[in-house]
Symmetry: C2
Subunit: 486 residues, 2 copies
């Protein structure tokens, strides 16, 4: 394992001070141009040197005929050229003294035949000069804190706590919207492509050492170094959770993975075994992968699998209870003390069972501050799951009807909702036990948005919330197991 | 079955010309006030008569001391009063000649004991005057086309094609955001509460006759008239799909349902049997319920379960293939003719298997017009599943970099995306086979929004899309089975 993050070959790849860029041009719809536009759009702070045989300037930057002409040796080379000239280019990078590269180009091992030969040659060149590179057949790296993004899509998120290593570039670049809606972002994300020189295990070691990474997310079509994967995972899991999406669980997924990365996927039970032994939580979909990260990165570890559900409506309570049941969670009875404490706060029509259903509640303060604290004090509660509902439009209508004048309605409504969010945020912070929310509101509804910004994990729908709770419980169990083996 | 929709007791309940409203006041945060604010906000066209013992005016409307004072007999009474005075109120409504009511008030059978007695008495009053009512313990109705909404939340959606009957009010009123994000709306939605006088089966008959309803959605904690449910479902399913969410599949869900509506839920296999025999598609979550409605309401019926996946990226292809596998779908090989037709359009790095992966595609026209048409012509294709990705911000950056001036960039980007949407829309319309999309973009991204508005079902993530395809295939099979029995 690394003693310092700077020892990782991935450090300079994701935190370079300067970049040489091969393949951008004044054809703005070429892959290379798309990619170089991304760090420029983010405001990358160091120099970017486009290398091009003919152009004088590209995207307002001075272009160079050859890497050998540069005024300095850049930390990183990004190569987006046809496969046939990649080896020669890397050779010149080596001559210039460059020791880190991202090889975006496809046409190597994943196409078989001469592509496999080409990849072997690429490795030889890298070894000759001591160059470490990710790829080929990848889309590189995204590290918002360092304002670097070599992927074709504009990066739209806050810097976050997910360290992602992916055998599909799509899942570090085509899911920005999806992450935004959960207020998630990457600490750093790597698209590892064919993993010729640097693989997923290297990324995991990097994230173990990365101070911004709280959870590690993996998209895996095939594990190439099984033994090392296991060893490294078991070292990481006591400190940080690892969630992995492996789509080879069905014949259909396995065949698709084979044609994508050219790697042989193993049978499902084999991968399940590796994940289980390594303490890795398995996700079954992209949605689960990031839902699990949201909850594992934000909430405390539960002591057990007993969930108390607090709701203001029967249907959402019943579906959450059902989803919890399917996720292997238990709904304990409330203790007599809890029922006694709740009684004076409870409307006639409300139910003091679990789910605790306050029906169409009136006292918001009770609902978001007092009641959850009582439920969290119950010794039978390992996790509190709360249904959230407070749409801006309803609050505005209410405030408008109460006589507040037109121009102030919106302002007052926002103030009210932000107050409620602070109540919830304080309650969660002081809870000592994990609290997770669910809602059917839009993730961009003020109430939901603010809660997410305050670090309260709120998921869309009871099923997603229950499955994420299941992942939390599973992580706690796997972690305990690994710790007890040591 | 009804010969005309006007014969249904639910017709005047959801299409009244005038309403008497009990329980609204100048306390704007009372349940009754919340509810009366809703039809007012929607611009309900007929008169609304608030009845109140003391107030002169409520929300700018003249208030009446008694229903007997009204200048006319309203079509509908909405009652949001304490349980103890509901019977007396309904009696007066009967005297006034009112024949339809919504009883929102809780405190009846669902609380047991004297509540059960009270509900019996309520029924007797109704029978005495020939009054048909929904509730008690419900939140009424939502019918955007008639500008009526008696639920506490503002209705925010377009009028849609889902006929919803729900044993939880939440699922007709707290999911407007969720529906909006799928561009869905209700034809009409009923919260049926305790079903004392009108039940879910009555709603199903209504929706069978309703010309705006293309799909029927049910939230069921308990079926009270099993035999009639089955009979009516089997009459409907050849014409319209029915999707039902039943949360009693686990011990946890069953217990929660019991405390919510006070009805005994049956064991899971019993309900599965009823749904299967009735041709009803079972959803396992609120998300599935409406995803299935989106696809069943928009797409054609598939001839079988063979799915061809078209993608521009390997990872989304592999996860979709895996999700299809788990949903019981098959990924056929493409025919040699199809492969021959695609060859000239295919980039070097692309794969002509299934999923058909065009990698980071350049020719958008090919991708959205020519390629899908070729795939749909393949006799092995029953359903086409397409991965959609075209974020506005990326298109703007591209257009900006190509030299278009600042002020025109946004406009040109929108024009471009709308052009692409029309291509897709035309392709889907001419397809003759079902086409479903998936994406990780936000549902409010222009590209996704417009596709949904054009009636192209696009779901967030491959797993949700695959499960909805599974529901389509299942509906086709169940429908065939019922037709062959007749």
């Amino acid at each position: 394992m690394l003693r310092m993050i700077q020892e990782s070959p991935l450090y300079k790849i994701s935190n370079p001070d300067s970049i040489a860029f091969f393949g951008a041009s004044n054809n703005f719809d070429s892959m290379g141009s798309h990619l170089m536009a991304s760090p420029l759009a983010l405001g990358f702070k160091g120099p970017i040197y486009p290398i091009h045989p003919k152009e004088e300037r590209i995207m307002n930057l001075k272009a160079y005929r050859s890497i050998l002409d540069l005024p300095e040796t850049p930390d990183l080379a990004v190569i987006v050229l046809p496969a046939g000239i990649v080896c020669r280019t890397l050779e010149e990078c080596g001559q210039k003294g460059i020791r880190h590269a991202i090889v975006i180009s496809g046409g190597f091992k994943e196409v078989g035949g001469s592509g496999t030969e080409l990849e072997k040659k690429l490795l030889e060149v890298a070894d000759k000069y001591g160059i470490r590179f990710i790829g080929p057949n990848c889309i590189g790296v995204s590290n918002q804190r360092h304002r670097i993004n070599t992927t074709p899509l504009p990066y739209q998120n806050v810097p976050g706590f997910i360290g992602m290593a992916s055998q599909s570039g799509s899942f570090i670049t085509q899911i920005y919207n999806h992450l935004h809606n959960l207020n998630l972002g990457f600490s750093t994300a790597f698209s590892v492509g064919n993993e010729a020189n640097i693989d997923i295990v290297d990324c995991m070691e990097y994230f173990k050492a990365c101070p911004h990474t709280k959870v590690i997310a993996l998209y895996i079509e095939s594990i190439r170094r099984g033994r090392e994967f296991l060893k490294v995972a078991r070292k990481i899991v006591p400190h940080k959770p690892i969630v992995a999406l492996y789509p080879g669980g069905t014949e259909e997924g396995r065949k698709a993975g084979l044609s994508h990365t050219g790697a042989m996927a193993g049978p499902d039970p084999l991968y399940n075994g590796i994940f289980q032994q390594g303490g890795v939580i398995r996700a079954k979909s992209v949605t689960e992968l990031f839902d699990f990260c949201l909850v594992l990165g934000n909430a405390l570890r539960p002591a057990g699998n007993r969930v108390v559900i607090q709701t203001g409506a029967g249907g959402p309570g019943a579906t959450a209870a059902d989803a919890c049941g399917r996720a292997g969670l238990k709904l304990p009875n409330l203790s007599p003390e809890t029922i006694e404490k709740l009684a004076p706060l409870t409307p006639d029509t409300a139910s003091i069972n679990n789910p605790v259903d306050f029906t169409f509640h009136r006292g918001h303060m009770d609902f978001y501050r007092i009641v959850p604290r009582i439920l969290l004090e119950d010794e039978n509660t390992d996790v509190l799951l709360i249904y959230f509902l407070l749409p801006l439009e309803m609050v505005e209508r209410l405030i408008g009807n109460s006589g507040v004048l037109g121009e102030h309605i919106h302002e007052e409504a926002i103030k009210f909702i932000e107050g409620q969010c602070r109540e919830v945020g304080d309650m969660v912070e002081e809870s000592g036990k994990p609290v997770v929310g669910y809602t059917f509101l839009d993730p961009n509804e003020l109430f939901v948005r603010r809660l997410l910004e305050l670090g309260v994990p709120v998921l869309p729908g009871s099923e997603r919330a229950a499955r994420a709770l299941g992942a939390m419980v599973r992580y706690t169990e796997l972690r305990k197991k690994i710790l007890s083996d040591q």
